[in-house]
């Protein structure tokens, strides 16, 4: 029984990371109907920036803030410079560009920072919260952070004019343009948000999985599974999916399929969801017009 609680707790902790990564995926999917395969490597690279700042004596929260801002700007720049030119190209061309981007970030991180494993600080140091026996302080902290990020994203879209404009641009670009929304900039903003959220995911993941250039590979796969499960166009759904996948992965690995084929859990979840409920649990059903 104790073991079961431990499995649940570590599933929940990593689930938080999957959830934030899935949320970043949703940001770009909402705006452009594309899945950013480079999301993981971008997040990893952002995390290295934070690590580098802290190596140079910065305080955690300073480094955190600067990294989020830097990633936001970086995301906007990538959209304008690298992604925009392919707006009219076939979907596959964009997929190739994302794969190319992920190669570039991976290699650059190795070039600048080396491939060996680095430890990464957490602001949630010290004793486990409320004296619980199952989750370390960082694990509890990262769950809270993922919920905070979700709340911020929700508030931004719901209560700010900019959020409204972004939603309009995503849902009906033509009409949005007519009422004066600069749709192009909204897409760039979507990328910026995704990169910033991804940076948070990376900084929450790194204390758990340790920082190295390949750190986000497995996480991205589970985030995909989470996003598909919850509905890739729905922020709430993606976060729910991320947590669920984190827990399911641990429980299935430990008690059902065995650790040897644990990665295949992601594959099973993705295929299972798509067969049973293609739009995910909370996604909008898209009805094609004939």
């Amino acid at each position: 029984m104790v073991e079961l609680f431990h499995q649940l707790a570590s599933g929940l902790a990593l689930g938080g990371v999957y959830a934030i990564t899935a949320l970043a995926l949703v940001m770009i999917f909402q705006a452009t109907q594309l899945v950013n395969f480079a999301q993981g490597e971008m997040a990893m690279f952002s995390t290295y920036i934070a690590w580098w700042l802290m190596q140079n004596g910065w305080d955690y929260w300073q480094a955190f803030g600067v990294t989020v801002v830097f990633s936001f700007v970086g995301g906007v720049v990538i959209e304008r410079v690298v992604v925009r030119p392919f707006a009219q190209a076939p979907v596959l061309a964009s997929v190739i560009v994302f794969i190319g981007l992920s190669f570039i970030f991976n290699a650059l991180a190795g070039f600048f920072f080396g491939y060996s494993v680095q430890s990464f600080d957490t602001p949630f140091d010290g004793r486990p919260w409320f004296g619980n026996k199952f989750m370390s302080a960082h694990e509890s902290g990262s769950v809270v952070v993922s919920l905070v990020v979700l709340a911020l994203v929700f508030a931004f879209f719901r209560f700010t004019p900019l959020g409204l404009a972004m939603r309009a641009a995503a849902q009906n670009p033509a009409s949005a343009r007519l009422v004066g929304v600069r749709v192009g900039w909204m897409l760039a903003l979507g990328w910026g948000l995704a990169a910033a959220i991804g940076a948070v995911a990376g900084m929450m993941a790194a204390p758990i999985v340790y920082l190295d250039p390949n750190m986000m590979g497995g996480i991205l796969l589970y985030a995909f599974a989470g996003a598909v499960l919850g509905g890739i166009d729905n922020p709430w759904g993606a976060v729910f999916g991320g947590f669920t996948v984190g827990i399911a992965e641990n429980l299935l690995g430990a008690y059902v399929v065995g650790e040897e084929v644990k990665l295949s859990v992601a594959l099973i979840i993705i295929i299972g969801v798509l067969v049973a409920k293609p739009s995910g649990l909370f996604g909008r059903r898209i009805v094609a017009r004939v």
């Binding site: 431990h6 599933g11 390949n214 589970y222 690995g253 650790e259």
Partner: protein
């Protein structure tokens, strides 16, 4: 006195003889020794790329000091991304196009398995392969292929014997990487325990290098009620397992492998306090261990890294590995003298008697012979006291 005609004839004969010798010595000219290598500079195993980088830097330094017996080392290290088909292609390029004399320290079990037949069929020395898989020390079947570090099974066997001696009633849990590396530890442990005690292993769980963490596996292993925990994992996952087993409050005697004993890249990320009490078997010195601060061998290494590499490489155990391997290689080349034919290179590589290297533990020596293809077979047990490794017991031979 030799007349003109005689002189020309004999000169021609001499030229022909030199020509014949040159044909016998691919990759060798009067000024150069060409050495090939494949290394994962890209892909999932790129952390090991530092090994190739270190060796390249070392050979460059040797060249700056005048080379080996007057010849410059031309070291060609190609990226194979840890993908066996690419290893085959790059190896063929090295052997057939670049015409290297031999291969030195190509990395990885699957890549080396993929080229072993090719090297042995064509008589190309595949020297000091960078993997501890036991299968590479098999002179009876593969005379051109040589291992280097103590093989994984040997090391694991040492753990098995140590467990029997200290905790005869132990219940053992094993975390292993789901590939040749991890499975060799499981095999070796069973062999070390002996058939009668194989039942002591109560649970084994594997992980995949593409997984984010092994937390779930460690939790599962703890649930088995084991009081000994063998962590047969690569650095990142070993660090996770050390931390998680501590956080779980699991009071087991923990063993880690020599692949993951670096203080800087494994124990520090895991938390030094959480790593206290770990046991491992080792053959090399750890650059981040304060114990070696004034050691002559360490100073030599430090001096080399400071002059020829970047500062972050100093504590990287891969750099130490490459440094030792490159020194061994230069030793063999010097021993070859002027006969750098492939046959003689193999002969000298398998004829080393008690060589000590600066970054090997004191007392551990390299020995090879035509029937002994495991250059380093000695190890010493050590335990971690929270800040550095403490050697204990005798030097053990696998």
């Amino acid at each position: 006195m030799m007349n003109r005609r005689q002189f020309l004839t004999s000169a021609a004969a001499l030229a022909a003889a030199t020509q014949a010798r040159a044909d016998d010595m691919p990759g060798i000219t009067a000024k150069e020794i060409k050495i090939g290598q494949t290394m994962p500079y890209s892909g999932p195993a790129s952390a090991y790329g530092v090994i190739g980088k270190t060796e390249a830097a070392y050979f460059k330094m040797i060249n700056a000091q005048g080379g080996v017996n007057g010849r410059m080392v031309n070291f060609i290290s190609l990226d194979d991304g840890y993908s066996p088909p690419k290893t085959v292609e790059q190896t063929r390029r090295l052997v057939e196009e670049e015409k290297v004399a031999f291969l030195f320290n190509p990395l990885g079990t699957p890549p080396n398995l993929a080229i072993r037949d090719y090297c042995n069929k064509n008589g190309v020395p595949q020297l000091y392969v960078a993997t501890g898989a036991a299968t590479f020390s098999d002179p009876a079947h593969f005379k051109w292929t040589l291992g280097l570090q103590p093989n994984y099974q040997t090391e694991s066997g040492i753990f098995g014997k140590h467990i029997l001696a200290t905790k005869p009633k132990a219940k053992i849990a094993v975390l292993y990487q789901n590939d040749g590396f991890g499975k060799d530890y499981l095999i070796g442990l069973k062999a070390g325990l002996g058939a009668d005690h194989a039942g002591m292993i109560v649970k084994a769980a594997s992980y995949e290098t593409s997984e984010p963490t092994v937390d779930s596996q460690v939790t599962e292993l703890q649930g088995s009620g084991a009081d000994v925990f063998l962590i047969a994992a690569t650095p990142k996952f070993a660090a996770q397992a050390i931390r998680k087993s501590f956080d779980l409050g699991w009071d087991a005697t923990r063993y880690v492998t020599d692949v993951s004993l670096s203080i800087a890249t494994v124990l520090k990320p895991a938390g030094l306090a959480k790593a206290k009490g770990l046991i491992t078997a080792n053959y090399g010195k750890d650059a981040s261990d304060p114990r070696w601060k004034d050691d002559a061998g360490f100073k030599q290494y430090k001096d080399f890294v400071e002059k020829h590499m970047s500062a972050r490489d100093l504590v990287d155990s891969n750099a130490i590995y490459g440094f030792n391997a490159a020194i061994l290689m230069v030793h063999v080349l010097k021993q070859c003298g002027n006969d750098l034919s492939r046959a003689n290179i193999l002969k000298q590589a398998t004829n080393i008697d008690g060589l000590e290297l600066p970054m090997l533990l004191p007392g551990i020596k390299i020995n090879t012979s035509p029937t002994n293809y495991s250059p380093i077979r000695q190890m010493q047990l050590q335990s971690f006291n929270g800040s550095s490794w403490e050697l204990f017991g005798d030097i053990l031979q696998g």
